[in-house]
Amino acid sequence: MNPQFKKGVLELIVLESVREKDMYGYELVEEVSEVIDVNEGTIYPLLKRLTNEHYFETYLRESSEGPPRKYYHLTAAGILYRDSLAKEWEEFQARVNRFMKERQKDE
């Protein structure tokens, strides 16, 4: 997939992944990797940025498999931001699809 496409939609996928339940970093990376093939290293900076912008909040939870894990929780601001991104994505996708279909009809 075009890396520019990935970059544009990555934020939405991450927000959507955490909307259902709180997740820790590695778990989130795996979740996102199932959707798009993405460099694992780029997820953590994105999580940090979204946390700095108060769309995520973090907390530590003990783990039986090792040291405590940092969990990410979507805040109210994060939910609103996710909704606006999803809406934009829908509109964008619909326009592109309509344009592509119209072109295909012309051919």
Partner: protein
């Protein structure tokens, strides 16, 4: 070709790129990547495979720094000078060349600053000693005058009540008595037995409690009239007093002239700045009118505004540099004058 990393080396290298961040943030990031690698290792991957998925170290570091809103020059690799390389900590324990240079400069600058401080302190001590040497004759003269005034006060007290010596007169110093000899000599040398009118008045009072110090003064004066060497010495002493008075007057005049010159220079500078500020203000007004008529004079307006602030502040600063007499000092001086008037003595050095 991608470098083969061990977990430890990867984390150390990453830490080196993140050195511009706070320590706590660095720890958070390193901890998160460390956990990520550990989880991959638990799934059976090797360290090399686990780290390979992070991609290029520079790109990864750049993305992390971007998330922290770090300035572009800290995260972009530019040809020539690479700041990331510059700030990166060496993992083999050796001290980078720029740190050695920095430490060397730091040590030398601290040593130079200490040397300059010691030099300035030495110069300050010498200047103070020189100033003390200059002012010493004036101080000596002033102290002697004060001693004379105190002696006069003590004598007046003892003659007024006629009951003998006051505590102040009893504590009169020999130097004060000698000075008194010099004063009485005007009338004493030519008089019979060298006894002054005041001494006679003391005698007439007939007080049995006449002070011993008065008799000592009389005896001393009698000896003084007989001793020509003592007279010559007193002449020299009087001449010394005169020289001291002239010197103190000269010193005060010099100080006054210096203060006037200093104030005049600052006043001229303040006036110049004030006039310039007025001109700039007038220019600014005209430019603002033209600017309102949509002439492209925004840059000139800003320059004139800056000039106005600059000249205005310079004028205020120059005015504040002028030396003025302190109010408290004036009060003290007034108090001194009152005291001196009360003692009935005219002070020449004021």
């Amino acid at each position: 070709m991608n470098k083969v990393w061990s977990k430890q080396a990867f984390l150390e290298e990453l830490r080196g790129y993140l050195i511009v961040l706070e320590d706590q943030e660095q720890e958070d990031i390193i901890e998160e990547y460390s956990q990520h690698i550990d989880m991959k290792l638990q799934k059976g991957l090797s360290e090399e495979e686990a780290i390979r998925d992070f991609g290029s170290m520079k790109e990864l570091a750049a993305e992390i720094l971007e998330a922290y809103h770090v300035k572009p020059e800290f995260r972009q690799q530019k040809p020539g000078f690479h700041l990331q390389e510059f700030v990166k900590v060496k993992t083999d324990g050796s001290v980078p060349w720029f740190r050695r240079m920095g430490n060397f400069l730091k040590e030398k600058s601290v040593a130079a600053a200490r040397g300059m401080r010691a030099g300035f302190l030495w110069i300050g001590r010498k200047c103070r000693a020189f100033a003390g040497w200059l002012v010493k004759p004036y101080r000596v003269y002033k102290n002697r005058k004060a001693g004379e005034a105190a002696w006069e006060d003590g004598e007046e007290c003892s003659t007024a009540d006629g009951s003998g010596l006051s505590g102040q007169a009893a504590g009169q110093s020999l130097a004060g008595m000698q000075e008194r000899d010099g004063i009485s000599e005007k009338s004493g040398i030519g008089e019979k037995n060298g006894i002054s009118e005041k001494d006679e008045m003391h005698g007439k009072s007939g007080s049995s409690g006449q002070s011993r110090i008065d008799s000592r003064v009389v005896m001393h004066r009698k000896e003084g009239t007989k001793d020509m060497a003592g007279s010559i010495g007193r002449c020299f002493r009087k001449a010394g007093h005169g020289i001291m008075a002239v010197w103190s007057w000269f010193f005060a005049v010099c100080l006054w002239v210096l203060r006037m010159m200093w104030n005049a220079a600052w006043l001229l500078f303040a006036l110049f700045c004030a006039v310039m500020a007025m001109f700039v203000l007038a220019g600014l007004g005209a430019t603002l009118v033209l600017l309102a008529q949509r002439y492209p004079l925004m840059g000139l307006s800003l320059i004139e505004l800056g000039g106005l602030l600059c000249f205005g502040s310079l004028a205020v600063w120059a005015y504040s540099m002028m030396i003025r007499k302190k109010t408290a000092g004036t009060k003290i001086e007034d108090g001194m004058k009152i005291t001196e008037k009360e003692s009935g003595e005219e002070v020449q050095y004021e």
